[in-house]
Assembly symmetry: C2
Homo-oligomer: 217 residues x 2
Protein backbone atom coordinates (compact mmCIF):
# COMPACT_ATOMS: atom_id res chain seq x y z
CA UNK A 1 0.00 0.00 0.00
CA UNK A 2 1.04 3.60 -0.57
CA UNK A 3 2.88 2.27 -3.55
CA UNK A 4 2.73 5.49 -5.52
CA UNK A 5 4.38 7.99 -3.24
CA UNK A 6 5.40 10.81 -5.54
CA UNK A 7 3.34 9.52 -8.44
CA UNK A 8 6.53 7.91 -9.67
CA UNK A 9 8.00 4.76 -8.27
CA UNK A 10 6.75 2.26 -10.79
CA UNK A 11 7.66 1.62 -14.37
CA UNK A 12 10.97 1.06 -16.03
CA UNK A 13 14.00 3.21 -15.51
CA UNK A 14 13.35 5.07 -18.77
CA UNK A 15 9.71 5.67 -17.83
CA UNK A 16 10.66 7.08 -14.48
CA UNK A 17 13.20 9.36 -16.09
CA UNK A 18 10.62 10.59 -18.55
CA UNK A 19 8.14 11.21 -15.78
CA UNK A 20 10.62 13.19 -13.73
CA UNK A 21 11.54 15.28 -16.74
CA UNK A 22 7.88 15.98 -17.38
CA UNK A 23 7.36 17.04 -13.78
CA UNK A 24 10.27 19.46 -14.07
CA UNK A 25 9.00 20.79 -17.41
CA UNK A 26 5.52 21.32 -15.95
CA UNK A 27 6.92 23.24 -13.01
CA UNK A 28 9.26 25.24 -15.22
CA UNK A 29 6.41 26.17 -17.56
CA UNK A 30 4.49 27.73 -14.71
CA UNK A 31 7.45 29.57 -13.25
CA UNK A 32 8.73 30.87 -16.59
CA UNK A 33 5.23 32.01 -17.51
CA UNK A 34 4.76 33.95 -14.30
CA UNK A 35 8.23 35.44 -13.97
CA UNK A 36 9.80 35.42 -17.43
CA UNK A 37 13.15 33.87 -18.23
CA UNK A 38 15.18 36.42 -16.32
CA UNK A 39 12.85 36.57 -13.34
CA UNK A 40 12.53 32.82 -12.92
CA UNK A 41 15.05 31.09 -10.68
CA UNK A 42 16.09 27.48 -10.78
CA UNK A 43 15.42 27.35 -7.06
CA UNK A 44 11.80 28.40 -7.59
CA UNK A 45 11.32 25.72 -10.23
CA UNK A 46 12.93 23.15 -7.95
CA UNK A 47 10.65 24.12 -5.06
CA UNK A 48 7.63 23.99 -7.36
CA UNK A 49 8.22 20.34 -8.22
CA UNK A 50 9.68 19.34 -4.85
CA UNK A 51 13.15 18.47 -6.09
CA UNK A 52 16.52 19.77 -4.94
CA UNK A 53 17.99 22.32 -7.31
CA UNK A 54 21.00 20.17 -8.10
CA UNK A 55 18.65 17.51 -9.39
CA UNK A 56 17.33 19.85 -12.06
CA UNK A 57 20.84 20.27 -13.36
CA UNK A 58 21.17 16.53 -13.53
CA UNK A 59 18.29 16.36 -16.02
CA UNK A 60 18.77 19.70 -17.78
CA UNK A 61 22.31 20.93 -18.06
CA UNK A 62 21.43 24.62 -17.93
CA UNK A 63 18.56 27.03 -17.34
CA UNK A 64 18.53 27.94 -21.00
CA UNK A 65 18.32 24.30 -22.12
CA UNK A 66 15.38 23.77 -19.79
CA UNK A 67 13.68 26.89 -21.09
CA UNK A 68 14.17 25.80 -24.66
CA UNK A 69 12.58 22.44 -23.96
CA UNK A 70 9.58 24.19 -22.40
CA UNK A 71 9.10 26.37 -25.46
CA UNK A 72 9.56 23.45 -27.83
CA UNK A 73 6.90 21.47 -26.03
CA UNK A 74 4.33 24.24 -26.39
CA UNK A 75 5.16 24.80 -30.01
CA UNK A 76 4.53 21.12 -30.69
CA UNK A 77 1.09 21.28 -29.12
CA UNK A 78 0.20 24.31 -31.20
CA UNK A 79 1.36 22.72 -34.41
CA UNK A 80 -0.77 19.67 -33.76
CA UNK A 81 -3.75 21.90 -33.08
CA UNK A 82 -3.06 23.67 -36.31
CA UNK A 83 -3.93 20.54 -38.24
CA UNK A 84 -7.57 21.29 -37.71
CA UNK A 85 -6.97 23.86 -40.43
CA UNK A 86 -5.72 21.25 -42.80
CA UNK A 87 -8.91 19.75 -44.01
CA UNK A 88 -10.52 20.20 -47.37
CA UNK A 89 -13.57 21.47 -45.59
CA UNK A 90 -15.30 24.73 -46.39
CA UNK A 91 -13.77 27.94 -45.03
CA UNK A 92 -16.56 28.15 -42.50
CA UNK A 93 -15.93 24.70 -41.09
CA UNK A 94 -12.14 24.90 -41.22
CA UNK A 95 -11.89 28.35 -39.63
CA UNK A 96 -14.51 27.65 -37.01
CA UNK A 97 -12.77 24.45 -36.01
CA UNK A 98 -9.40 26.19 -35.87
CA UNK A 99 -10.67 29.09 -33.78
CA UNK A 100 -12.51 26.78 -31.41
CA UNK A 101 -9.40 24.67 -30.98
CA UNK A 102 -7.22 27.71 -30.33
CA UNK A 103 -9.67 29.00 -27.72
CA UNK A 104 -9.59 25.59 -26.12
CA UNK A 105 -5.80 25.68 -25.96
CA UNK A 106 -5.87 29.16 -24.40
CA UNK A 107 -8.09 27.70 -21.73
CA UNK A 108 -6.15 24.48 -21.15
CA UNK A 109 -2.56 25.59 -21.76
CA UNK A 110 -2.54 29.11 -20.41
CA UNK A 111 1.03 28.91 -19.14
CA UNK A 112 2.39 27.53 -22.36
CA UNK A 113 0.85 30.35 -24.33
CA UNK A 114 2.31 32.84 -21.88
CA UNK A 115 5.82 31.45 -22.23
CA UNK A 116 5.56 31.64 -25.99
CA UNK A 117 4.25 35.20 -25.84
CA UNK A 118 7.02 36.14 -23.47
CA UNK A 119 9.63 34.68 -25.76
CA UNK A 120 8.38 36.47 -28.88
CA UNK A 121 7.89 39.69 -26.92
CA UNK A 122 11.58 39.67 -26.07
CA UNK A 123 12.63 39.10 -29.66
CA UNK A 124 12.67 35.30 -29.63
CA UNK A 125 16.30 35.06 -28.52
CA UNK A 126 16.05 31.32 -27.94
CA UNK A 127 13.67 30.03 -30.61
CA UNK A 128 14.33 32.33 -33.56
CA UNK A 129 15.11 29.29 -35.72
CA UNK A 130 11.61 27.91 -35.09
CA UNK A 131 10.06 31.11 -36.37
CA UNK A 132 12.16 31.01 -39.51
CA UNK A 133 11.62 27.36 -40.33
CA UNK A 134 8.60 25.58 -38.91
CA UNK A 135 6.30 28.53 -38.26
CA UNK A 136 7.14 30.18 -41.57
CA UNK A 137 6.45 27.11 -43.65
CA UNK A 138 3.26 26.33 -41.72
CA UNK A 139 2.05 29.87 -42.28
CA UNK A 140 2.81 29.76 -45.98
CA UNK A 141 0.71 26.66 -46.52
CA UNK A 142 -2.26 28.21 -44.69
CA UNK A 143 -1.88 31.44 -46.61
CA UNK A 144 -2.11 29.40 -49.79
CA UNK A 145 -5.29 27.73 -48.56
CA UNK A 146 -6.87 31.08 -47.77
CA UNK A 147 -5.87 32.48 -51.14
CA UNK A 148 -7.58 29.56 -52.81
CA UNK A 149 -10.76 30.31 -50.88
CA UNK A 150 -10.57 33.89 -52.06
CA UNK A 151 -10.00 32.83 -55.67
CA UNK A 152 -13.06 30.60 -55.40
CA UNK A 153 -15.06 33.54 -54.12
CA UNK A 154 -15.79 31.65 -50.91
CA UNK A 155 -14.60 34.52 -48.72
CA UNK A 156 -14.04 38.23 -49.11
CA UNK A 157 -10.59 39.18 -50.46
CA UNK A 158 -8.39 40.06 -47.49
CA UNK A 159 -4.66 39.60 -47.02
CA UNK A 160 -4.45 36.11 -45.45
CA UNK A 161 -1.68 37.09 -43.04
CA UNK A 162 -3.74 39.80 -41.37
CA UNK A 163 -6.54 37.29 -40.96
CA UNK A 164 -4.25 34.72 -39.37
CA UNK A 165 -2.74 37.33 -37.05
CA UNK A 166 -6.22 38.33 -35.98
CA UNK A 167 -7.10 34.75 -35.10
CA UNK A 168 -3.85 34.19 -33.23
CA UNK A 169 -4.07 37.49 -31.40
CA UNK A 170 -7.69 37.17 -30.35
CA UNK A 171 -7.57 33.57 -29.19
CA UNK A 172 -4.20 33.80 -27.42
CA UNK A 173 -5.34 37.00 -25.72
CA UNK A 174 -7.57 34.86 -23.53
CA UNK A 175 -4.46 33.06 -22.23
CA UNK A 176 -1.81 35.77 -22.27
CA UNK A 177 -4.04 38.50 -20.81
CA UNK A 178 -6.05 36.15 -18.63
CA UNK A 179 -5.12 38.13 -15.55
CA UNK A 180 -6.51 41.36 -17.01
CA UNK A 181 -9.66 39.61 -18.24
CA UNK A 182 -10.23 38.01 -14.85
CA UNK A 183 -9.72 41.30 -13.07
CA UNK A 184 -12.32 43.00 -15.27
CA UNK A 185 -14.59 39.99 -14.89
CA UNK A 186 -14.31 39.90 -11.09
CA UNK A 187 -13.10 36.31 -11.31
CA UNK A 188 -12.27 33.54 -13.77
CA UNK A 189 -14.50 33.10 -16.79
CA UNK A 190 -17.29 30.57 -16.31
CA UNK A 191 -17.85 27.75 -18.78
CA UNK A 192 -20.71 29.56 -20.48
CA UNK A 193 -18.62 32.70 -20.76
CA UNK A 194 -15.92 30.70 -22.54
CA UNK A 195 -18.54 29.31 -24.89
CA UNK A 196 -20.03 32.72 -25.55
CA UNK A 197 -16.63 34.31 -26.13
CA UNK A 198 -15.67 31.52 -28.52
CA UNK A 199 -18.92 31.86 -30.43
CA UNK A 200 -18.53 35.65 -30.59
CA UNK A 201 -14.98 35.40 -31.93
CA UNK A 202 -16.09 32.86 -34.53
CA UNK A 203 -19.10 34.83 -35.65
CA UNK A 204 -17.32 38.18 -35.92
CA UNK A 205 -14.43 36.75 -37.91
CA UNK A 206 -16.59 34.61 -40.19
CA UNK A 207 -19.05 37.42 -40.90
CA UNK A 208 -16.09 39.76 -41.21
CA UNK A 209 -14.74 37.83 -44.15
CA UNK A 210 -18.10 37.51 -45.82
CA UNK A 211 -19.39 34.20 -44.53
CA UNK A 212 -22.88 34.06 -43.11
CA UNK A 213 -22.50 31.64 -40.19
CA UNK A 214 -25.26 29.16 -39.94
CA UNK A 215 -26.18 29.42 -43.57
CA UNK A 216 -26.49 26.00 -45.18
CA UNK A 217 -23.39 24.73 -46.93
Amino acid sequence: MAQTEGAEKSGTRAEMREETERAILDAAEGIFAEAGFGGATMQAIADSCGLPKANLHYYFSSKEKLYRRVVERIFTVWLEAADSFDTDATPEVALRRYIERKMQLSRDYRYGSKVWANEVLHGAPIIQDYLETTLRSWTETRVAVIRRWIAQGAIRPVEPRWLLYMIWATTQHYADFAHQIETLNHGPLEADQWDDATETVCSIILRGIGIDPGAPA
Copy 2:
Protein backbone atom coordinates in the same frame (compact mmCIF):
# COMPACT_ATOMS: atom_id res chain seq x y z
CA MET B 1 28.42 76.58 -31.33
CA ALA B 2 27.83 73.00 -30.27
CA GLN B 3 25.58 74.38 -27.60
CA THR B 4 23.36 71.32 -27.41
CA GLU B 5 25.79 68.56 -26.68
CA GLY B 6 23.70 65.81 -25.21
CA ALA B 7 20.43 67.41 -26.20
CA GLU B 8 20.39 68.85 -22.69
CA LYS B 9 22.43 71.79 -21.54
CA SER B 10 19.91 74.58 -21.97
CA GLY B 11 16.76 75.48 -20.11
CA THR B 12 16.10 75.92 -16.43
CA ARG B 13 17.17 73.48 -13.80
CA ALA B 14 13.69 71.98 -13.65
CA GLU B 15 13.58 71.59 -17.42
CA MET B 16 16.92 69.82 -17.45
CA ARG B 17 15.79 67.51 -14.73
CA GLU B 18 12.63 66.67 -16.60
CA GLU B 19 14.60 66.01 -19.77
CA THR B 20 17.04 63.71 -18.00
CA GLU B 21 14.17 61.81 -16.42
CA ARG B 22 12.56 61.42 -19.81
CA ALA B 23 15.81 60.13 -21.31
CA ILE B 24 16.06 57.54 -18.54
CA LEU B 25 12.40 56.54 -18.97
CA ASP B 26 12.87 56.16 -22.73
CA ALA B 27 15.91 53.94 -22.25
CA ALA B 28 14.20 51.96 -19.50
CA GLU B 29 11.13 51.38 -21.69
CA GLY B 30 13.28 49.77 -24.36
CA ILE B 31 15.29 47.63 -21.97
CA PHE B 32 12.28 46.50 -19.93
CA ALA B 33 10.41 45.66 -23.14
CA GLU B 34 13.25 43.54 -24.51
CA ALA B 35 14.33 41.81 -21.31
CA GLY B 36 11.38 41.94 -18.91
CA PHE B 37 11.58 43.30 -15.39
CA GLY B 38 13.75 40.50 -14.07
CA GLY B 39 16.01 40.31 -17.08
CA ALA B 40 16.63 44.03 -17.30
CA THR B 41 19.57 45.44 -15.36
CA MET B 42 20.03 48.98 -14.17
CA GLN B 43 23.47 48.90 -15.77
CA ALA B 44 21.96 48.11 -19.18
CA ILE B 45 19.50 50.99 -18.83
CA ALA B 46 22.32 53.29 -17.75
CA ASP B 47 24.44 52.29 -20.73
CA SER B 48 21.47 52.76 -23.06
CA CYS B 49 21.11 56.42 -22.10
CA GLY B 50 24.82 57.08 -21.50
CA LEU B 51 24.57 57.77 -17.79
CA PRO B 52 26.43 56.15 -14.90
CA LYS B 53 24.30 53.70 -13.00
CA ALA B 54 24.51 55.67 -9.76
CA ASN B 55 22.88 58.59 -11.56
CA LEU B 56 19.77 56.53 -12.27
CA HIS B 57 19.36 55.94 -8.58
CA TYR B 58 19.56 59.65 -7.99
CA TYR B 59 16.48 60.20 -10.16
CA PHE B 60 14.62 56.98 -9.39
CA SER B 61 15.15 55.55 -5.97
CA SER B 62 14.74 51.92 -7.03
CA LYS B 63 14.38 49.68 -10.07
CA GLU B 64 10.76 49.03 -9.21
CA LYS B 65 9.94 52.74 -8.94
CA LEU B 66 11.49 53.31 -12.35
CA TYR B 67 9.52 50.41 -13.80
CA ARG B 68 6.30 51.69 -12.35
CA ARG B 69 6.85 55.12 -13.89
CA VAL B 70 7.45 53.46 -17.27
CA VAL B 71 4.19 51.53 -17.05
CA GLU B 72 2.26 54.56 -15.83
CA ARG B 73 3.47 56.61 -18.76
CA ILE B 74 2.23 54.05 -21.28
CA PHE B 75 -1.08 53.67 -19.56
CA THR B 76 -1.62 57.41 -19.76
CA VAL B 77 -0.99 57.43 -23.51
CA TRP B 78 -3.47 54.60 -23.99
CA LEU B 79 -6.14 56.30 -21.94
CA GLU B 80 -5.82 59.47 -23.99
CA ALA B 81 -6.10 57.42 -27.16
CA ALA B 82 -9.20 55.81 -25.78
CA ASP B 83 -11.01 59.13 -25.92
CA SER B 84 -11.51 58.59 -29.63
CA PHE B 85 -14.17 56.16 -28.48
CA ASP B 86 -15.93 58.78 -26.46
CA THR B 87 -17.81 60.61 -29.13
CA ASP B 88 -21.47 60.50 -29.88
CA ALA B 89 -20.62 59.34 -33.36
CA THR B 90 -22.11 56.29 -35.03
CA PRO B 91 -20.64 52.89 -34.09
CA GLU B 92 -18.91 52.74 -37.44
CA VAL B 93 -17.14 56.06 -37.00
CA ALA B 94 -16.32 55.57 -33.32
CA LEU B 95 -14.98 52.03 -33.71
CA ARG B 96 -13.09 52.77 -36.87
CA ARG B 97 -11.40 55.77 -35.25
CA TYR B 98 -10.55 53.76 -32.13
CA ILE B 99 -9.09 50.84 -34.07
CA GLU B 100 -7.07 53.13 -36.32
CA ARG B 101 -5.71 54.98 -33.31
CA LYS B 102 -4.76 51.74 -31.56
CA MET B 103 -2.97 50.49 -34.66
CA GLN B 104 -1.14 53.79 -34.81
CA LEU B 105 -0.06 53.37 -31.20
CA SER B 106 1.17 49.84 -31.88
CA ARG B 107 3.31 51.28 -34.62
CA ASP B 108 4.62 54.30 -32.70
CA TYR B 109 4.85 52.95 -29.15
CA ARG B 110 5.88 49.38 -29.71
CA TYR B 111 8.02 49.19 -26.60
CA GLY B 112 5.37 50.68 -24.37
CA SER B 113 2.86 48.10 -25.50
CA LYS B 114 5.40 45.34 -24.88
CA VAL B 115 6.07 46.50 -21.33
CA TRP B 116 2.35 46.54 -20.61
CA ALA B 117 1.89 43.10 -22.12
CA ASN B 118 4.80 41.80 -20.11
CA GLU B 119 3.36 43.21 -16.92
CA VAL B 120 -0.10 41.72 -17.44
CA LEU B 121 1.40 38.43 -18.59
CA HIS B 122 3.15 38.11 -15.27
CA GLY B 123 0.01 38.82 -13.29
CA ALA B 124 0.35 42.60 -13.04
CA PRO B 125 2.36 42.50 -9.80
CA ILE B 126 3.17 46.21 -9.99
CA ILE B 127 0.09 47.83 -11.50
CA GLN B 128 -2.76 45.68 -10.25
CA ASP B 129 -4.41 48.77 -8.76
CA TYR B 130 -4.59 50.39 -12.21
CA LEU B 131 -6.47 47.39 -13.56
CA GLU B 132 -8.95 47.51 -10.71
CA THR B 133 -9.61 51.24 -10.79
CA THR B 134 -8.86 53.15 -13.97
CA LEU B 135 -9.06 50.35 -16.52
CA ARG B 136 -12.16 48.84 -14.97
CA SER B 137 -14.12 52.06 -14.91
CA TRP B 138 -13.01 52.98 -18.42
CA THR B 139 -14.12 49.59 -19.66
CA GLU B 140 -17.49 49.84 -17.97
CA THR B 141 -18.34 53.12 -19.65
CA ARG B 142 -17.42 51.70 -23.09
CA VAL B 143 -19.42 48.56 -22.43
CA ALA B 144 -22.40 50.80 -21.71
CA VAL B 145 -21.90 52.66 -24.99
CA ILE B 146 -21.79 49.39 -26.94
CA ARG B 147 -24.90 48.11 -25.17
CA ARG B 148 -26.71 51.27 -26.22
CA TRP B 149 -25.72 50.65 -29.83
CA ILE B 150 -27.08 47.14 -29.56
CA ALA B 151 -30.32 48.38 -28.00
CA GLN B 152 -30.68 50.81 -30.89
CA GLY B 153 -30.18 47.98 -33.33
CA ALA B 154 -27.11 49.72 -34.75
CA ILE B 155 -24.93 46.62 -34.34
CA ARG B 156 -25.44 42.92 -33.92
CA PRO B 157 -25.95 41.77 -30.31
CA VAL B 158 -22.59 40.56 -29.00
CA GLU B 159 -21.15 40.69 -25.50
CA PRO B 160 -19.34 44.05 -25.50
CA ARG B 161 -16.38 42.72 -23.51
CA TRP B 162 -15.49 40.10 -26.09
CA LEU B 163 -15.60 42.78 -28.74
CA LEU B 164 -13.29 45.07 -26.78
CA TYR B 165 -10.87 42.23 -26.08
CA MET B 166 -10.81 41.43 -29.77
CA ILE B 167 -9.90 45.01 -30.64
CA TRP B 168 -7.23 45.21 -27.96
CA ALA B 169 -5.77 41.84 -28.84
CA THR B 170 -5.65 42.37 -32.57
CA THR B 171 -4.22 45.87 -32.54
CA GLN B 172 -1.69 45.27 -29.78
CA HIS B 173 -0.58 42.07 -31.50
CA TYR B 174 1.14 44.24 -34.09
CA ALA B 175 3.32 45.71 -31.33
CA ASP B 176 3.74 42.80 -28.92
CA PHE B 177 4.37 40.18 -31.61
CA ALA B 178 6.15 42.55 -33.97
CA HIS B 179 9.18 40.33 -33.98
CA GLN B 180 7.18 37.32 -35.14
CA ILE B 181 5.34 39.35 -37.75
CA GLU B 182 8.58 40.80 -39.10
CA THR B 183 10.18 37.38 -39.25
CA LEU B 184 7.26 36.02 -41.29
CA ASN B 185 7.28 39.18 -43.41
CA HIS B 186 11.02 39.01 -44.10
CA GLY B 187 11.40 42.51 -42.69
CA PRO B 188 9.45 45.34 -41.06
CA LEU B 189 6.00 46.14 -42.40
CA GLU B 190 5.97 48.84 -45.06
CA ALA B 191 3.68 51.84 -44.80
CA ASP B 192 1.17 50.37 -47.23
CA GLN B 193 1.16 47.09 -45.32
CA TRP B 194 0.29 48.97 -42.14
CA ASP B 195 -2.52 50.71 -43.98
CA ASP B 196 -3.80 47.47 -45.44
CA ALA B 197 -3.62 45.65 -42.11
CA THR B 198 -5.48 48.51 -40.42
CA GLU B 199 -8.17 48.51 -43.07
CA THR B 200 -8.51 44.74 -42.88
CA VAL B 201 -8.89 44.79 -39.09
CA CYS B 202 -11.48 47.56 -39.33
CA SER B 203 -13.48 45.89 -42.07
CA ILE B 204 -13.54 42.44 -40.48
CA ILE B 205 -14.63 43.76 -37.10
CA LEU B 206 -17.20 46.19 -38.47
CA ARG B 207 -18.72 43.63 -40.82
CA GLY B 208 -18.45 41.09 -38.04
CA ILE B 209 -20.81 43.07 -35.84
CA GLY B 210 -23.23 43.76 -38.63
CA ILE B 211 -22.06 47.10 -40.01
CA ASP B 212 -21.57 47.41 -43.75
CA PRO B 213 -18.46 49.59 -43.99
CA GLY B 214 -18.65 52.27 -46.59
CA ALA B 215 -22.40 52.37 -46.52
CA PRO B 216 -23.68 55.94 -46.26
CA ALA B 217 -24.58 57.13 -42.76
